[in-house]
């Protein structure tokens, strides 16, 4: 009876009881892939609805992390007791690119965490792979992150005009690593978004807790401080942080102008995999329970 014109879900579907276990993964992932347009459009339409009447709202998306970066820069400079002209710009640039990248991950996690509880009516009334909702939040976070890159480049270009002897590199081949690292950050953010989205269904105050976690996470990540300050066994702090290796790599690529170390690259990939595997397992094995708990 399946409509021959449409490429729809398997014609015969069987719904059986389950006990917190994974559904058959191949059909799930096929359906997830088939419906990806829904996640993309949901994010696009949510964005359209949010900024329909306020074009300035979009500017704020860039201004917010930019101003925060200046605040942190002042803070770091004051704590350090001032800085030389030479290191000042690179400190600012490091904080800027680190904060923009960190915000990409944290927006993805925070948006993802709320996506299930906020999508209550949709979940109660339509059957689809629920992992599409946090994906939609991650896509939104990416579109918010993208315009911050030209802002970073603009700040660096202007900065280099005033301080030509700064260590920040011009165009380098190492920049080719940037898309890969951004991808790792995106996947890690999505995976953690899946995890916190599941938690938020069971404990509705998870997102409040998340705001504290995010703050501590930011301070313990190489955003306000350079990854080089860690030596010896202290480097473990970079590796146990899911965003540590990718943020350290970000700093390598954009500030030092070099290829990230193999350890950091492997760390970024491992965390991206772990986040999606663990987050995905918790989420997908419990998602059939969401409609009951929403």
């Amino acid at each position: 009876m399946a409509n021959p014109k449409t490429n729809f879900a398997p014609a015969i579907q069987v719904f059986k009881p389950h006990r917190a276990s994974l559904p058959p993964l191949i059909p799930y992932l096929k359906e997830f892939w088939r419906r990806r347009a829904f996640a993309i459009e949901l994010s696009r339409f949510a964005d359209k609805a949010e900024y329909l009447d306020s074009k300035l709202g979009k500017v704020w998306l860039v201004m917010n992390p930019l101003l925060l970066a200046f605040v942190y820069f002042l803070l770091v400079t004051v704590i350090r007791g001032g800085s030389t002209e030479k290191s000042g710009l690179s400190t600012l640039a490091h904080i800027l690119i680190g904060l923009f990248t960190f915000y990409f991950a944290s927006n993805s996690i925070n948006g993802g965490a709320l996506s299930i509880t906020a999508g209550g009516r949709l979940i109660l009334n339509q059957a689809f792979p629920r992992a599409l909702l946090p994906l939609s939040s991650s896509i939104s976070a990416f579109w918010q992150f993208l315009p911050t890159l030209p802002v970073y480049i603009l700040v660096v270009v202007i900065g280099k005009l005033f301080f030509p002897h700064t260590q920040i590199p011009g165009l380098r081949l190492s920049y080719l690593w940037a898309p890969f690292i951004i991808l790792c950050v995106g996947i890690t953010g999505y995976g953690m978004g899946l995890l916190f989205a599941t938690m938020n269904v069971y404990f509705r105050d998870t997102n409040k807790l998340l705001s504290y976690i995010t703050r501590i996470w930011l301070y313990s990540s190489p955003v306000l401080w350079r990854p080089e300050i860690l030596h010896g066994w202290h480097k473990i702090f970079l590796y146990i942080n899911p965003l540590g290796p990718s943020l350290a790599s970000t700093s390598d690529v954009w500030i030092e102008g070099r290829t990230p170390s193999l350890g950091m690259l492997v760390g970024s990939i491992v965390w991206a995999f772990l986040a999606v595997l663990i987050g995905g397992y918790f989420f997908i094995s419990r998602e059939r329970d969401f409609a009951v708990r929403i």
């Binding site: 879900a9 579907q13 069987v14 339509q126």
Partner: protein, 259 residues
């Protein structure tokens, strides 16, 4: 499952646990754990041992009082709520209209919401773009409303758009929960005609309705549910009759519509 069946429900039971304690928060969970208290829950048996076959091309009506388990059953058929026992086999693409305007964003126009609604129910972008005009025409909103934000719509207009999306995505199985109250008399007529067309194309419809006349007019079989049990199954007139007797309100014409 025999090929002529669209839906087969075998010994289906659905139970869920309701948390009586107000808020499900980490804070409350920690507080309770520190006091050694347990969460107070209640098990609700929404559907009890239901067995039912629905052949292709038929229209099944489900009647019953509030809390009978009608909506839970619909959600289980749609694959939204998992069965606790038994199983449901569905043969064909399902379209659901279990609540009006699900997935609609009030700040967006009707046209944007048609695209979003179509994608939410599983259409591809190309399919929904091809059908947007047809769906907009079917909804037949007053001049220009289709390009205005949905928040400016009357509830009738809102319902018309939602209904149009559900019936125009050519589902094999259409699940409608109280959706027929959308729109005025002429739209209702149009909806009925569209549903009859769907049936003629051997598509299957399951309707939950309190408007008993609708069940009589549209359905070729009906079931009566009460507190999770299926009390009766048969011709719609007979089922509606039994249900009305049970309600003890007689069979006055005024009771037949919009109860």
């Amino acid at each position: 499952m025999p090929e002529e069946l669209a839906i087969r429900i075998e010994d289906l039971s659905i139970k869920y646990k309701i948390n009586i304690d107000t808020k499900k928060t980490l804070k409350n969970a920690v507080m309770r754990a520190s006091k050694g208290e347990k969460v107070r829950t209640r098990i609700v048996e929404a559907v009890k041992h239901l067995t039912l076959d629905v052949p292709h091309g038929s229209v099944l009506g489900i009647v019953g009082a509030n809390g009978a388990g009608k909506s839970t059953l619909m959600r289980a058929i749609a694959g939204i709520l998992p069965p606790t026992e038994g199983q449901i086999t569905v043969n064909g693409k399902i379209s659901t209209l279990l609540a009006l305007g699900v997935g609609f964003n009030p700040a967006l126009s009707g046209r944007d919401n048609i695209i979003l609604g179509g994608l939410a129910s599983g259409m591809s972008r190309a399919e929904i773009e091809e059908k947007t005009e047809e769906i907009a025409d079917f909804a037949a909103l007053p001049d220009g409303f289709i390009d205005m934000p949905v928040r400016t719509y009357s509830s009738g207009m809102y319902g018309r758009v939602a209904f149009s999306v559900a019936v125009n995505m050519t589902p094999d199985i259409l699940l409608l929960d109280e959706a027929l109250s959308a729109g005025d008399a002429s739209f209702k007529e149009k909806s009925f005609n569209r549903m009859r067309e769907l049936c003629a194309e051997a598509r299957t419809i399951v309707i939950v309705s309190h408007a008993l006349q609708t069940v009589n007019d549209l359905c070729d079989s009906a079931i009566w549910m009460h507190k999770g049990n299926m009390l009766a199954k048969g011709k719609p007139e007979a089922i509606v009759d039994q249900y009305l007797k049970f309600l003890d309100v007689g069979t006055l014409p005024s009771n037949l519509e919009d109860m």
